[in-house]
């Protein structure tokens, strides 16, 4: 369905303490994954305003990843729980506006899971590639 040369635009918002550190660890271990994801660092996934996600999809993002600490491991005690709760809301919202909610994913990658980060990256890119370009792009000026 999609052009071979099409590269999806995916934004990841990841927490400083677990997933960002896990991504760094993947680098140190030279775990190779597709280069389509652009990461934005925040201190905690609790910081992720649902509007950031809606904004990204409005701007034409093909996929989004929110990645934080495992439950119980949050550097700020419970930010990841609160973010995870918001994800249900946002996923519903996406479905209602006709976007496949698989375009938004939340994962939990700890600072010691470099291998898992690589797997998540590969999987997110593959999922979005299967879904194809975001339909919202069509309606943009």
């Amino acid at each position: 369905m999609t052009d071979e040369n099409w590269n999806p635009k995916i934004i990841a918002i990841i927490c400083n303490w677990c997933s960002y550190a896990g991504a760094d660890l993947a680098g140190g271990a030279r775990i190779q994954y597709p280069p389509d994801v652009r990461a934005i660092r925040v201190m905690c996934t609790g910081r992720v305003d649902p509007l950031f996600i809606m904004k990204a999809f409005q701007d034409g993002a093909d996929g989004m990843l929110i990645s934080g600490c495992h439950f119980g491991d949050c550097h700020y005690l419970e930010g990841n729980y609160k973010c995870a709760k918001r994800m249900f809301l946002v996923k519903n919202l996406l479905k209602n506006i006709g976007l496949d909610d698989k375009r938004l994913r939340m994962t939990f990658v700890s600072a010691s899971e470099g291998g898992k980060w690589g797997a998540v990256m590969t999987d997110v890119v593959n999922t979005v590639k299967e879904l194809g370009p975001s339909p919202i792009k069509k309606y943009q000026r």
Binding site: Y20, A21, R30, P35, G46, R47, L51
Partner: protein, 674 residues
């Protein structure tokens, strides 16, 4: 979307990191691209931006081009953000006018064979970083005073060493131990390799020292209940478990002059309840009122209320003068304030009985290394006579299964890692058998002998020359002769490429080690992550092995990963040194990522107040309206409030919504729309 107040003058600096970055993407292309970006007035590259000349480039450029923002595209901000912030400051800018693009750890290293993809990603990363840099603001770090006290959790050899070092440096140190005595695992050992020092003999001086040191507040039979606060200002609630026995000081508080426990043991003698003593690995009895072993510190009996039948015989035996026993005592709580904490919570053996092939707990004569330590120890249950548990006979052929559950990828209770000290203690056990039982032969079934430490390899040669037999191969299974209770050990001798079956009188399993079950709860209370293998995670495996990602919390000993005694003591001294730095500095700087309320947007709904895990937010009356107010000292900057506020009234400093939206827009709209 958001307006930048001043004209952006951003400098972009791209690091080659030798070939780490330049070998996988085109630094030149990224630099030329950066020059085209809005707000960028200078873009430069250098071999090593973190070197002195590299930093000078930044400092000089800030002055020459009158920059108001700096972007460095290099490694991870988790590594070099402090370096470049300092350079930014030296150039005359506020250090928070700096943003990093992680084009190494999260780009060149993970897209090594995709030159174009990596180059495009690096361009976008620079674009995103510039978008943020254009909106950065001057911030001032907040200084907070540091409590002149420390907590050490766990009083094994590591915890005791850390506490003694801290106390020696003039810091009031709370040494908290869950068990009734200090000493930890090392006090259970008979001898230590490779010097064959008596373990208790070298440990007891330290045990006595921690009991006597004027700066050490010893809290045995005590657990941590709650941890609050941050570096410099931790408030920790301790649960002092009901001990049932009063110290002389506690007795005096109750008006019993000259009373309290003096360790005479009269109570234990009359106690009718008999339980296995965990210190002796369950191979010796203890009473419901007990001490672990004769050298306990403090010398103070403890009532095990789980098994006590409250018959009162001990109270009678203790007598009306001492009146040391109170069978109605309850848990008490104490709140302490400390600046830094060291976790030294040790390890357990894996439940090796779940490796059914070796028959532990099925066959009497299969024991673990720790049980061997107690059996061979002069103060142990057999006063140092090594006997077979099945019949009390002296074993003449003793098999050792090394890597029992270590370096084992079969899952279950097995661990993929090396437990590090088993090779050496098995060599030591082999020596002890040959020394104590003339004619006895130890057989060591090993995969590799890892004798890595100082004088360890020499010790290995010594044991070989003394006549121990080494068979290279993992033991497949062990079967018991039901009549003689001898054990048939089946293995493959991989050096001779043939299966072996040998009859042993006794088998010692060098069981793998694993984190304590309570480690999970403790690490979550202190905000420490764990490694993939379950041990507590250090801040950096090479450069910060004692620290954690939570400022003010440090690690010592096996809780961070398997270690022998010398390494544990060395790490404890390192942790003590690290933990004393903030205390002696007297103040720490906190990053000013605080929440701020924009009063004009705040509707006073109060949702954020309930979301804050630290109780940092409150609703107040201001100019006749209800608005939220932040207590900066309590705010840790997670942004959970800012992520929710329906009115966008909460500004998370350094991670503001306009900044994050600008980053998103920059990448997706390539700067066209904002």
């Amino acid at each position: 979307m958001a307006e930048t107040k001043e004209e952006s003058r951003i400098g972009v600096f791209i690091c080659h990191c030798g070939t780490n970055i330049a070998g996988s993407l085109s630094v030149e292309d990224v630099k030329e691209y950066a020059k085209t970006l809005d707000g960028v007035v200078v873009a430069d590259d250098y071999q090593y931006m973190c070197s002195t000349p590299g930093q000078s480039k930044i400092i000089d450029a800030i002055k020459e081009h009158n920059l108001n923002g700096v972007v460095v595209a290099a490694c991870s901000p988790r590594l070099h953000e402090p370096t470049f912030r300092t350079a930014t400051e030296e150039g005359g800018l506020n250090k928070f006018r700096f943003e990093m693009a992680n084009i190494r750890d999260q780009n060149s290293w993970v897209h090594m064979h995709d030159w174009e993809g990596a180059t495009n990603k690096a361009k976008d990363q620079v674009l995103i970083a510039v978008a943020k840099a254009r909106m950065l603001e001057d911030l001032q770090p907040k200084s907070v005073p540091v409590e002149h006290a420390a907590l050490v959790l766990g009083a094994g050899v590591g915890g005791m060493q850390a506490a003694l070092d801290l106390a020696g440096a003039g810091i009031k140190t709370y040494l908290v131990e869950k068990l009734p005595t200090v000493g930890g695992r090392m006090s259970q050992l008979d001898k230590t390799f490779p010097t064959l020092d008596c373990s208790q003999c070298i440990l007891t001086p330290k045990m006595v020292d921690v009991g006597r040191h004027p700066n050490i507040e010893l809290r045995t039979y005590t657990e941590v209940e709650k941890v609050e606060g941050y570096i410099g200002n931790f408030t920790i609630t301790l649960r002092k478990k009901a001990r049932g026995v009063l110290t002389p000081a506690e007795a005096l508080e109750r008006g019993i002059v000259g009373g309290g426990c003096n360790g005479c043991g009269d109570c234990s003698e009359v106690c009718p309840v008999i339980k296995p003593n965990p210190f002796e690995m369950g191979m010796a009895p203890r009473k419901a009122i007990y001490i672990y072993h004769p050298q306990v510190m403090p010398l103070l009996y403890t009532v095990d209320f789980d098994s006590c039948v409250k018959c009162g015989l001990c109270v009678e035996a203790c007598g009306p003068e001492k009146r040391a026993i109170d069978l109605d005592s309850v848990d008490t709580f104490e709140e302490i304030k400390v600046g830094t904490c060291i976790l030294a919570i040790g390890y357990d053996l894996i439940p090796i009985e779940e490796k059914k092939e070796w028959g532990y707990k099925q066959f009497d004569n299969v024991i673990t290394g720790l049980e061997f330590e107690r059996l061979i120890c002069a103060s142990g249950p057999t006063t140092g006579h090594l006997i077979r548990p099945s019949d009390g006979q002296t074993p003449m052929k003793v098999g050792f299964v090394l890597c029992a559950g270590s370096r084992d990828n079969t899952g279950g209770v097995a661990k993929p890692y090396c437990s590090r000290f088993c090779c050496m203690y098995c060599l030591k056990h082999a020596h002890q058998i040959m020394e104590k039982i003339p004619g006895a032969v130890p057989y060591l079934f090993y995969m590799d002998i890892r004798a890595f430490g100082k004088m360890y390899e020499e010790f290995y040669y010594r044991i070989q020359n003394e006549g121990a037999k080494f068979i290279r191969g993992r033991v497949a299974n062990i079967l018991e002769d039901p009549i003689t209770k001898n054990l048939m050990v089946y293995a493959e001798d991989t050096l001779l490429s043939r299966p072996v079956a040998m009859e042993m009188d006794m088998v010692v399993l060098a069981a793998a080690i694993q984190p304590k079950p309570e480690a999970e709860k403790i690490r979550q209370m202190f905000g420490v992550s764990k490694s993939q293998d379950g041990w507590l995670l250090e801040a950096h495996p090479k450069l910060n092995p004692c620290g954690t990602t939570t400022a003010g919390i440090y690690l010592a000993g096996v809780c961070q990963g398997p270690k022998d005694v010398p390494d544990t003591v060395a790490q404890a001294e390192g942790a003590a040194s690290a933990a004393s730095i903030p205390i002696h500095t007297g103040e720490v700087q906190l990053e000013p990522y605080f929440a701020q309320c924009i009063d004009s947007l705040c509707a006073g709904c109060g949702m954020c107040v309930n979301l804050c895990p630290y109780g940092a937010l409150a609703l107040v009356e201001k100019d006749g309206r209800t608005v939220m107010e932040v207590t900066e000292a309590k705010c840790k900057g997670c942004g959970t409030c800012g992520g929710f506020c329906p009115g966008g009234a909460i500004k998370m400093q350094h991670f503001t919504s306009p900044q994050i939206c600008a980053q998103i827009d920059a990448f997706l709209l390539k700067g066209e729309d904002y």
